[in-house]
């Protein structure tokens, strides 16, 4: 088999094992028995490399980058998209579990979130807001289907049926050490939030309250009060990114 990795891909003869005393059981490979390459013969480092640059470049450019760095066109842009999507779901599920566990902890106290704030109200309390709404186009599942659509439908119809945009809301929290922590809501494979952003924030603040001193939490709460606004924001402050 060929293992795709951060170096030149190489062919590896993997040993297969079969239990002679249990002929009905399926044979297992060395990788099965050592818990490696459970999903695909792509190394974790190559997956990490492609996922890291997918945050900075288009999938097509990452495909070119992988070819440039490793010397071989090992991953297609669609495969890289699948890797990123899979990892996103994996991380999202871990966050979901973390939030659920936090809410289940009766020893923690959770701050309230003000759902609506009129940011144009001159009487309202001044708060510091960081806002960055990233908008990207939802992608087709595969390019073949898109080409087929283009062939079968008139051009005008296709133009009207563009993939819907995917909104990602990010909240940035300033810490005592002047560094920032970025928080986004976890999503499933379709891009739908599986835990609301305010709930993620509440959970995060409850955890931080138990480990960080009060002045930090007070600062956090200032950000909290505007978190609901971020979810609805479409103001000119938002950055629109349609490059992918």
């Amino acid at each position: 088999m060929t293992i795709k990795n951060t170096l030149w891909p190489h062919y590896f003869q993997v040993q297969r094992f079969k239990d002679a005393t249990r002929p009905d059981e399926k044979e297992q490979t060395y990788f099965d028995l050592t818990g490696q390459f459970r999903e695909a013969y792509i190394s974790l480092r190559l997956q990490e490399l492609s996922a890291y640059y997918s945050n900075r470049l288009s999938y097509k450019e990452v495909e070119n980058l992988v070819a440039r760095v490793t010397g071989d066109r090992q991953l297609s842009d669609q495969k890289i998209w699948q890797i990123v999507n899979h990892k996103t779901v994996e991380i999202g599920q871990a966050w979901q579990i973390e939030v659920e566990q936090t809410f289940g902890n009766k020893a923690l106290s959770f701050p309230k979130i003000q759902d609506k704030i009129d940011i144009y109200d001159s009487e309202s309390r001044e708060v510091i807001v960081f806002e960055d709404a990233i908008q990207v186009r939802g992608q087709k599942k595969n390019r073949v289907q898109k080409q087929k659509d283009n062939e079968e439908r008139p051009a005008q119809t296709v133009a009207k049926e563009k993939a819907p945009p995917v909104f990602t809301n990010v909240v940035m929290l300033q810490k005592k050490n002047q560094e920032f922590e970025y928080i986004a809501a976890p999503v499933d494979e379709t891009g739908q939030e599986i835990v609301s952003l305010p709930d993620v924030l509440k959970s995060r603040a409850a955890l931080l309250r138990s480990v960080i001193n009060y002045c930090i939490i007070t600062q956090f709460l200032k950000y909290f009060e505007v978190s609901a606004c971020l979810a609805k924001s479409s103001s000119g402050l938002s950055r629109t990114d349609l490059s992918r």
């Binding site: 990795n5 170096l7 030149w8 891909p9 190489h10 590896f12 040993q15 050592t34």
Partner: protein, 72 residues
């Protein structure tokens, strides 16, 4: 044409893998830095996958040997 010889040894100083010493020729056309850099980069692309493969084969071999041990 300069040559690099690469030997992979284990903790007991024994050669790992089937091939005792592997040789890589550095193909530099002229002696400019550009060509030297290209030759070394080419060596890296050839040698590192070989090392990775040799180590992977060695760990698989050790795993198989371990499986064969009757005391385990």
């Amino acid at each position: 044409m300069p040559t690099i010889e690469l030997a992979l040894r284990d903790d007991n100083n024994q050669i790992m893998g089937h091939q005792s010493v592997k040789k890589y020729s550095l193909d530099w056309k002229s002696q400019s830095f550009h060509d030297i850099e290209g030759a070394v980069e080419n060596f890296k692309n050839l040698a590192l996958p070989d090392i990775e493969l040799a180590l992977l084969e060695a760990t698989q071999r050790a795993f198989i040997e371990n499986k064969k041990r009757p005391d385990l």
